[in-house]
Symmetry: C3
Subunit: 388 residues, 3 copies
């Protein structure tokens, strides 16, 4: 028993470390994809999110999410830190999608509310002490590491934010969609690969136990499936784009991988290898299809976060009901719906309210000059002469 | 017994994670060393290799390599994923060396064949179910983590590829060797250091067991020696270059470290500290000596992969026979030879055949403009004004 | 008993890996903060420090530090490598602060002496076999992972170095302080975040035992507090700067995080969450206050190392005596004083002597052109056109 406690603690510390490696992961990915003039700004947002969301969560959010649940299979503080490592991710998803026009102060305020209240509420009804228990809204879905709880949550909050904040200045002019190329492909690549690796801790650690032969097998299966879905997402996205353009588009390939990783997250502990390839592969294709569709309806999302996290968060949660024999599809649909309505509504109201007190959107001039100057006073690469 | 299974599974998951950190490692190293116009292209190749090699290996290659061998000391899927993490590395070695002129599609096709067949065949006869058993070609060498199996394999495949694909346009003009400086030293440094750290998982994990006092000591010894050889390789390469040019050349220092790391890989579980310093130090010096020699014979290898991986893969495998009392040198030589002839022949035939159907080499115009445009349609740093 | 040995060995290997991730961490942070013309040079220094300090320590320093102390709770080589991973950090602190004007050769020579003698001496009297035992200078402080032993040591050595080497050419002209902006904010951010993550291994691993329920709880507490102090340091530094300038300054936010991390390092195994927030928050504020003060007295420290490591090393060591009931403040003060006087004196004498034989400071012309050319012969980004 003491042995199980020890090894589970070590395992969850290892997993937490991998998840926190996603902080530089998200930061580098976003710094690579936005324009040079907004790089410092998105980096600052990423750091502020980790800081504010984590403090809010350990002081307030954790207690809302888990209430008086006792942890006795591992060190409780290790468990709390593992859960803390999750919260920033949901907000990163949201902040990336409003990059290049959302101001840092209101984003930080939203982070505080998201980390202290909104996200903990969703965890409460999904994994936690469950205030909805025995009501007709009670969720009984299988969502191992948060396809719905984290990724769709971040996605719904992002959708609310985009509807309020609007698209980047100059992105859609009349019928034209202005293509804005990523400013630094190596950083984008580094970030995406760090996220991929961090996912092993995310999903593997969510098994919560490695202290028996069966548990160790489940952890290994989970991490194996996670990686396999990422591979399949990248491959299918790559093939799809290659067939269409005869070009290898690394941004789509890696977003495809991330889509596959999001999709596998709900049920990575349940699938076989072929299931994982299918679920991940569909995830990759969904990204490639969804990115232009969001542009078509003028929803401006610089990092493709809605395609990667919202669409695949939903797909991944549904996939459990489709591919895992023992999990009813209806429960998954109910979970997606309850979370979706809750998060979208509360986030919309929150962002709308914040927006009344301090305008969320940077001015046109600030956007033109870049948010690095107006928000941070620090250029990202001051010595490099720019084309644009 | 269950405890051993659990801790070995955790240990191999940890090791696998470190090895997969070598994916961004190789990607950043290569992105740092090639010219700006080819950065997106090499990053894409690195990602495609991880994707295609890994899928090929888990679906086909693993079964060729290990056949019906049962794993009962750890979770079999954790073992499979650990082995999967190796395969891309051998191909990365090869792809780096043909950087800036090899096209992505044929490289990906070669990756498929390498991951599904060629590399698994080499693993089969070295570490696996062994089709050569009881024949006169049977190998009985000590190669802990693949100085021969991985590094010389990648190196021989690269040599075959260079002979077919040729050197970069404009690299050798008459008697002149055009020096092409690395475009981004921080990325190169980051990549090399990530590789170094990943090596702890590579070599340490290859011990395959940490579940007894003796096994734990062997793992610690292996990782300690691995690091020590990297240190010695860097130091000796640095001293060598400094004595010659009175300059500190970080590309040579880090390639020297990698040379030392390759050299220790075959026998890191067997040596004392002084042995490790010598083996690694010789590895570093070999890199510094070999790089200009390959240029002298017009073998164009932008990242120095032949010097780091082929030369030191051979040196490291020989070193076991020299420094470890119990391992006969002749067996090591036989192993190097059988692997070398097999890999070079099969790779040459494969690349030659692919090259008949789709030309492996980018056109002179594409090379001049950079492969990022012709292969990916994505510039690596579109906003930075370039000198060249 | 064998089980404890195994799991402690695995735990310390994991911790060591995280600490060695601080090698790229420091390298990227410094490469991001110095000017483009000195980037290759600081990267080279960082690599040389890891190489030379580590070799000196395993061959000489370790034996001075720990003498004949026997390790029987884990693999002795794993313990030695863990201790080896520390030594370079103290020297990194020092090298960063003399960046952009100190030459590589004398820095490397100082590294050799620091790794073989100075740092091991400090470890000897603090954590090791203790030559001062039973003398009136004997230290009995609580310094878990080196607020004093590592961070203040690096800081005192740096102060000695700056006093001898002087400020960067053109940094202080008459009454003017020339502001020199960081050249690459993403690299700086990446580096700071890698350091943050590495700190989990630094402080967590220093507990030295995870093999009981109590030990596992202490490890979890230590890592949790470490992270919490980093969060608080970042938050308070951010608020402080925002209130003053209405801007989000990521360099100050992340230096604040590092300040908090240094401050918690001495007693992370002892505090509650609120203590950790206070200690870390004060650490962050101290950085923001100290940085301009050092400039006021013309102590030129490009990376803010004195503010982060010396000031917070002292604060963190004192904090143990203030916040932990069982630890007397006087013992902490004595520890700080003995270490401070020893390190400053010996370092000053060493650097002064080296400086007699080979001038430590790069010439004005070399500084103007950048040390990359004079020291390394390799530009960091040769293809990017520069503003400056």
């Amino acid at each position: 028993m003491a042995d199980a406690y020890i090894i589970n603690t070590l395992f969850v510390i290892f997993s937490t470390t991998l998840i926190i490696l996603m902080v530089p992961g998200f930061a580098m990915l976003e710094a690579g994809i936005v324009r040079t003039k907004n790089v410092t700004s998105v980096l600052t947002v990423n750091v502020m999110i980790y800081v504010v969301a984590s403090i809010s969560f350990i002081l307030i959010g954790y207690h809302i999410a888990f209430g008086s649940i006792k942890i006795d299979t591992m060190s409780p503080l290790a468990f709390m830190m593992f859960q803390m490592a999750f919260v920033g991710k949901a907000i990163n998803i949201m902040s990336g999608g409003v990059g290049e026009r959302a101001k840092i102060f209101p984003l930080t305020l939203f982070t505080l509310i998201m980390g202290a209240l909104i996200y903990p509420l969703i965890v409460n009804i999904s994994w936690g002490s469950d205030i909805l228990k025995d009501t007709f809204l009670d969720i009984n879905m299988h969502d191992l590491a948060g396809s719905a709880v984290i990724h769709s949550t971040g996605g719904w909050a992002l959708l609310a934010a985009i509807l309020i904040i609007g698209s980047r200045k100059g992105r859609y002019i009349n019928d034209q969609i202005k293509v804005i190329p990523a400013s630094n492909i190596p950083l984008f690549t580094l970030g995406a690969l760090l996220l991929w690796i961090g996912w092993f801790g995310f999903n593997g650690g969510s098994v919560g136990n490695i202290a028996s032969k069966e548990a160790a097998d489940t952890v290994a299966l989970t991490i194996f499936n996670t990686n396999t879905a990422g591979l399949a997402g990248a491959l299918l996205a790559g093939i799809f784009i290659y067939l269409r353009y005869r070009l290898f588009d690394i941004t789509m390939i890696l977003n495809g991988a991330l889509g596959g990783l999001v999709a596998i997250t709900a049920g990575a502990d349940l699938y076989g290898t072929v299931d994982s390839l299918i679920i991940g592969g569909v995830g990759g294709v969904l990204v490639v299809i969804a990115v232009p569709l969001f542009d078509k309806v003028r929803i401006d999302d610089p990092v493709g976060a809605l395609s990667v996290h919202l669409i695949n968060g939903i797909w991944g949660t549904l996939a459990v009901g489709i591919f895992a024999d023992t999990i009813p599809l209806l429960g998954q649909i109910k979970g997606i719906t309850v979370i979706g309505i809750s998060v979208f509504t509360i986030s919309y109201a929150t962002i709308y309210t914040i927006n009344k007190f301090m305008v969320f959107r940077a001015s046109d001039d600030a956007q033109l000059e870049g948010l690095d100057v107006s928000e941070c006073g620090i250029e990202s690469y001051p010595e490099f002469r720019r084309v644009i």
